[in-house]
Assembly symmetry: C2
Homo-oligomer: 251 residues x 2
């Protein structure tokens, strides 16, 4: 039995943003496990079985991957972005902790990837160039009250704020409420970046002031970044401005 | 004139963690600009001029790179990790904003890389699997009071906290003070991960409880990650435990 489990980040979408480590590991795998949209990004080849599942089945998927590895298969669980950021790595370790004790001795590796927020930031300048935080806006697994508390404290700390999973059909009002709350804490001119499907054919990146931010702009593939009080815009002729947060916090 | 400027992330150290996008762009460059340690990671070749500078000269270096691009050169500014995270991208945009107005119309691209904190997290499990923040502990460009305030608010928000630049000869006491303050806000059993030189031959990753965290363990190449109240360890026979933060915040 020489099975192993790798939890790999495929990056935001473009093939050029997949690390050689991930590509090599996929080439050595017997099984790929993940949400159907991400599994589809791994080309078919003889000797590779692709196990696609629905979204929101993370724990079942993690258990399936661990069982396959325990049987001696070479398994890659794929996430988009980085697997450690609101993705499959935490789900796999939840399954390890709760599951068969022998799973703790499996060869488990995490292969980092280009995260959605850094790919999004790169498209617009350097909005995350100073202290920042990342908040998953989904209230499936945490109470909404806690999210509001975190947003308020993050604004008071003057972090740049990156929001993951800001919007879905099951989560229609949360982002609007987040903007409302942040308008109470931050200058209304703070830049807000909506970055959707970065590095993919459907990429769309917009910048608005916090006072004009409308939740309906976001969808499931959007990362929203809200500047700190120090985040700046650099106007350009006929082009989208650059958005960046200076390294210095001195006024 | 077909000059351009790319600000590229070389990742934490291993060649396998450099994206194909960055490798391709380096192959097209006429000039590489950066801190000597990072420039040394780009192999010499005919037609490529490597401009190495000291640490702490970010703004001069940014200006040099912009001038070269304006002269028609194809310039890559290299950072380790991701260029948008406490690295050269913000410095370049500071130089753009303050410098020659024509620089705003240059072709400037940011090429994301595997950040130090995600590479570090991958080595140990999924410590950043829930909401988190990243704080630069250097007080060169911001007052120490602000850093203390951010640390306290981050702990109150129950973010996992990643600390960049925790320690140097010019910054000997700050990390110890940060631990002291965090012990007032967080359970003393919270796991603290010290990850040094990840993916490099000198890699060293340790886990201790917050009550036992000693600042002297860190150096210039260390990322320190302090768990939230929910961060967990999974013991393993004869191996380092896994550290992860569950997706759920429900008790």
């Amino acid at each position: 039995m020489t099975g192993w489990l790798a939890i790999a980040g495929l990056g935001p979408g473009a093939a050029e943003l997949i690390t050689p480590e991930v590509s090599r590991t996929l080439a050595e795998a017997t099984d790929v496990v993940g949400y159907a949209r991400y599994v589809a990004r791994v080309p078919e080849r003889p000797g590779l079985t692709r196990h696609a599942s629905d979204n929101r089945e993370e724990l079942d998927r993690a258990g399936q991957a661990l069982r396959l590895a325990a049987e001696g298969r070479r398994v890659v669980v794929v996430s988009s972005g980085d697997p450690g950021v609101f993705a499959m790595a935490a789900a796999v370790f939840e399954a390890v902790e709760a599951g068969d004790p022998s799973w703790r001795n499996l060869d488990i590796k995490i292969l980092p990837g280009i995260s959605a927020m850094f790919a999004a930031a790169a498209r617009i300048g350097a909005p995350l160039g100073h202290d920042f935080c990342a908040i998953n806006l989904s209230d499936n697994l945490k109470p909404w009250d806690l999210i509001e508390r975190r947003l308020r404290l993050a604004a008071q700390a003057d972090f740049v704020i990156a929001l993951y999973n800001p919007m879905s059909s099951a989560r229609p009002w949360q982002l609007g409420r987040a903007f409302e709350l942040l308008r109470e804490e931050l200058p209304e001119t703070v830049p807000v970046v909506f970055a959707t499907a970065v590095s993919d054919a459907k990429e769309k990146v917009d910048i608005v002031a916090l006072k004009d931010a409308i939740a309906g702009r976001a969808d499931m593939r959007t990362v929203v970044m809200i500047g700190s009080s120090r985040t700046r815009m650099i106007a350009r002729d006929g082009k989208q401005p650059f958005v960046y947060t200076p390294r210095s916090a001195e006024v």
